[in-house]
């Protein structure tokens, strides 16, 4: 048996209110490719952030043993010094700079006060050759494609003298051909003795490159599967490990809700990326929601769910829209305006409550009335008392825990912030609510309360579109489920016929173009 290069023992990491990792164990042998698989939010990235020192020693429990030594990294530089280099899912390159400048960013060659550019570029060229890139390192990063940018990231890691390379979803933005080239590159590195950890959702890649597969679910390691046998491990086998969990009472029952007429329907809905107009982020999608119905949209990250929802909401994302939107059976020509969407009684409850949902520096009251300020004012003069009363009403209705509605939203917990966000949109009195990841980053108790609110909305005859990357949540809450992958709608299932296995299988099959 080969030497163990890295061992992570009983790693536990808690965020306020959430246990992200719970006694996770990981063993990586020298010279192997180790795959880390699990659903979104299972804790893979958190684990790698612990390993690379982004979460410094002291903020987690457990031990990291690397090359026989216990390590206590206080930042990412410490881990890089030992040759642990992480390549993040989002490319961290500065587009305006050259490849060479990017590769040595923060790690510049030469004297403290004078960068040795000749050395920088000649070294950079050497590493570029190793990853099979023909480009000169003096070329600006923005001029090369994403596939090549990913290779630059790897060259950058090599330049840091990586011994253990961690690749977080390296192929998520690459096409089939580039992905395969990247995986082959990994295999050639392996021959040269490099150790690698790859995080990926694409299970066909896992069985292609990995020697061992560790499955993480809900912050704990489930199992480590050996992929050395004559037969590669089947995807069904991996999926079972990823999703096999018990569900007891995590979702409140919704009973006696009458599902009515189609309220909103879109057909052949296509949206293009705002910066790369040739790229489709939503591709020929058709779907509908009925009154009193909760419709789930499931898909992996980057499947186009948020883009779909935002484009329906007054074309707030994307360019070059095509397709038809019907409300109550009548075609609607909506302007590119969020206010117009609100007038048509559509609400988009964002997945990023801090980034573009709430005004953290303002009070609960101000945030609650924000999307429907007209309702608490007459002739543009705000009736302070009415506004206060509305905020109080929603505080009670949604059980927002706060001493006063004058409290700044920034001081609330994630769950309570999410409720304020919901309050804002409920007060806008929409007929269709597009809920994007409404339970992201909040604890189990608050999740349950949000589910209850969703049920109340459905009972009141509203249409709820529930976008989530948590499969159990989609299964537990929806009447009907749409499945998206790579900008396309790849399937529709009734709640009673959907299972985690067949949804995952559907996505993986469509991902391979089969």
């Amino acid at each position: 048996m080969a030497k163990i290069l890295l061992e992570m023992k009983n790693i536990t990491k808690t965020f306020p209110g959430v246990k992200a990792l719970d006694n996770v164990n990981l063993q990586v042998e020298e010279g192997e490719i180790h795959a880390l698989v699990g659903e979104n939010g299972a804790g893979k990235s958190t684990l790698m952030n612990v390993l690379s020192g982004i979460y410094p020693y002291g903020t987690y429990e457990g031990d990291i043993i690397y090359d026989g030594q216990v390590c206590r990294f206080s930042n990412i530089k410490d881990s890089e010094k030992l040759g642990i280099v992480i390549i993040h899912q989002e490319l961290a390159l500065v587009p305006e700079m050259t490849i060479g400048e990017n590769m040595y960013l923060g790690n510049e060659c030469g004297h403290k006060f004078a960068i040795n550019w000749n050395k920088t570029y000649s070294e950079a060229d050497k590493y570029l050759k190793m990853v099979g890139l023909e480009e000169s390192s003096k070329v600006q990063v923005k001029t090369i494609g994403t596939g090549k940018q990913q290779l630059v990231e790897i060259a950058k890691a090599l330049a840091k003298k990586a011994k253990l390379l961690i690749l977080d979803e390296p192929t998520s933005s690459l096409n089939e051909e580039d992905s395969r080239a990247l995986l082959d590159l990994m295999l050639s590195f392996k021959k040269q003795g490099m150790t690698m950890i790859i995080i990926t959702h694409k299970l066909n890649e896992v069985s292609y490159v990995a020697d061992k597969i560790t499955v993480i679910r809900d912050g704990t390691t489930i199992e480590t599967i050996d992929n050395h046998g004559s037969e590669p491990v089947s995807e069904e086998r991996i999926i079972k490990g990823m999703v096999g969990r018990e569900m007891t009472n995590r979702f409140p029952k919704r009973e006696g809700v009458q599902i009515g007429e189609k309220e909103m329907e879109i057909s052949h809905w296509t949206v293009h990326h705002p910066l790369y107009p040739e790229r489709k982020v939503v591709d020929d999608v058709s779907m509908y929601v009925r009154k009193g119905e909760v419709v789930g949209i499931y898909g992996l990250m980057g499947a186009g769910r948020t883009e779909l929802a935002m484009s329906i909401f007054g074309q707030s994302y994307g360019v070059n829209f095509s397709g038809e939107l019907k409300l109550n059976g009548k075609p609607v020509k909506m302007k590119k305006s969020e206010a117009d969407a609100i007038r048509h009684k559509i609400a988009y409850v964002t997945e990023d409550r801090k980034g573009n949902g709430l005004v953290l520096s303002q009070s609960i009251k101000v945030n609650t009335s924000l999307a429907n300020l007209g309702a608490v004012s007459s002739r543009t003069v705000i009736d302070a008392d009415r506004e206060y009363a509305v905020a109080e009403e929603y505080r009670g209705k949604l059980k927002i825990k706060t001493p006063s509605v004058e409290q700044l939203v920034g001081n609330l917990s994630g769950g309570n912030q999410q409720k304020v966000l919901l309050a804002k949109w409920m007060f806008a009195e929409p007929d269709v609510l597009l809920l994007d990841e409404p339970t992201r980053g909040i604890d189990v108790g608050a999740k349950y309360e949000i589910y209850c609110i969703i049920n109340d909305l459905a009972a009141a005859g509203k249409c709820v579109v529930l976008i989530s990357s948590e499969l159990p949540e989609v299964l537990g809450m929806s009447d009907r489920i749409y499945i998206m992958n790579e900008a396309k709608m790849v399937g529709e299932m009734k709640a009673d016929e959907a299972t985690q296995e067949n949804i995952m299988a559907l996505i993986l099959r469509s991902g391979r173009g089969a």
Binding site: G355, G357, Q362, L370, L373, V381, I382, Y388
Partner: protein, 389 residues
């Protein structure tokens, strides 16, 4: 509990307390000179443009720490044009005022369009005006006058922007002035208690009688004091009416109307505002249109006071307006700040200026002190917010 509320009240009104302390400091240093009736008139007339431009700058800063660098130079251009209209061309005062306002609106529309719809960063868009307008104004002045300045403005123009209402001789107690003060003071107390009554009737929380009486009483006393002093100096300056009118209007807009709320939301979180249906571009447009119109009004108070238009008029006005906002607690990153805060900030700077010139401090040191006060105010603001968390 009581201690806590007292310290909270102190923190909330810290700048006001600083203002009172600085005033007392100069009161001692000038041996009461700063309390003389003419000092009150001076304080108002000298700083009128700071209040007016400050109100405009506040609206810009609320949208996300955006500023207008061009307003000082625009004052110079408008002053020159006003001189040409009234003195060279001999146009009527009313027509000239209308033209100046229209030119202000014209610039505001253009600037607002560039910033809101073409997405030019505000400081760059206004830097162009900063560079161009003074040159333009100066060349207009030198083309129309040998000395490079145009004077004097017609008397009716001056009486609108730099006159007095029901003027009397200095030293003779001006009753209309004091009666107006009484009326204003009574309005402050009356409105406070009426609001309290309404809130109680609807079953909301309201201040205790003592605290309502205290707050409104202090406000009323300040008004009475100021008008009593002004009454000894010939009556209410018309500048005060302009300033008070603008302050009241902008207080109302920022605190009570939906458009005012939108300014705070855009500054607090532009994306959230957009996704909540706020027309963020229109807010940016209105901010800069409004700024240009207020600049036109400020110009008229300034040239009426100096009785002439000259090349240096309006120099550093943009900095004065920004300082007033920042000292008054307007967030440099947007989304927070009140008109009242800006007024206190402007008054504080005005008192320091007046006090320093009364003790005839060297002009260079005056600048040093102004700079330090600005820095101290911001440091104080940031530290007190940190402790608040």
């Amino acid at each position: 509990m009581k201690n806590k509320s007292v310290s909270a009240a102190l923190k909330k009104n810290a700048m006001l307390i600083v203002l009172v302390l600085v005033y007392l400091f100069f009161l001692i240093l000038t041996k009461g000179g700063i309390f003389s009736p003419s000092s009150f008139t001076e304080l108002i007339n000298q700083n009128a443009y700071v209040y007016i431009l400050g109100a405009g700058m506040l609206m810009c800063m609320l949208t996300g720490g955006n500023i207008d660098l061009s307003c000082g130079a625009f004052v110079c251009l408008l002053g020159a044009l006003g001189g040409v209209f009234m003195i060279v061309q001999g146009m009527s005062t009313g027509l000239s005022i209308l033209l100046l306002l229209l030119i202000g609106i014209g610039y505001g529309v253009g600037l607002g369009f560039l910033i809101a719809y073409v997405h030019i960063p505000p400081w760059i868009a206004t830097l162009a005006g900063y560079l161009a307008f003074r040159g333009l104004g100066t060349s207009i002045l030198s083309a129309n006058s040998v000395t490079g300045s145009l004077a004097p403005f017609p008397t009716d123009f001056q009486s609108i922007f730099y006159g007095r209402i029901f003027p009397t001789e200095k030293g003779v107690f001006n009753w209309p002035c004091f009666l107006l003060g009484l009326l204003a003071a009574a309005a402050v107390v009356g409105l406070t208690f009426r609001n309290r009554q309404v809130r109680l009737k609807k079953g909301y929380e309201a201040d205790s009688v003592a605290s309502a009486a205290g707050k409104s009483g202090l406000g009323a006393a300040a008004i009475l004091l100021v008008t009593a002093r002004l009454a000894m100096d010939g009556g209410i300056p018309t500048t005060l009416l302009w300033v008070a009118g603008i302050i009241l209007i902008y207080s109302f807009i920022t605190s009570k109307t939906t458009i005012g709320r939108h300014f705070y939301i855009v500054g607090g979180n532009m994306e959230a505002a957009r996704l909540s249906g706020v027309n963020t571009r229109r807010v940016m447009f209105v901010a800069y249109l409004n700024m240009a119109v207020l600049t036109a009004i400020a110009t008229m108070t300034v040239v009426a006071r100096s009785q002439s238009a000259y090349a240096d008029v309006g120099k550093n006005f943009e900095m004065d307006a920004i300082s007033a906002c920042v000292v008054g607690g307007v967030s440099a990153s947007g989304g927070a700040g009140t008109v009242l805060g800006m007024v206190i900030g402007a008054t504080l700077i005005g008192v320091i200026n007046l006090g320093m010139s009364l003790i005839s401090l060297d002009a260079n040191y005056q600048r040093v002190i102004k700079g330090l006060v600005l820095l101290a105010a911001v440091v104080f603001d940031i530290l007190s917010k940190k402790r608040g968390k």
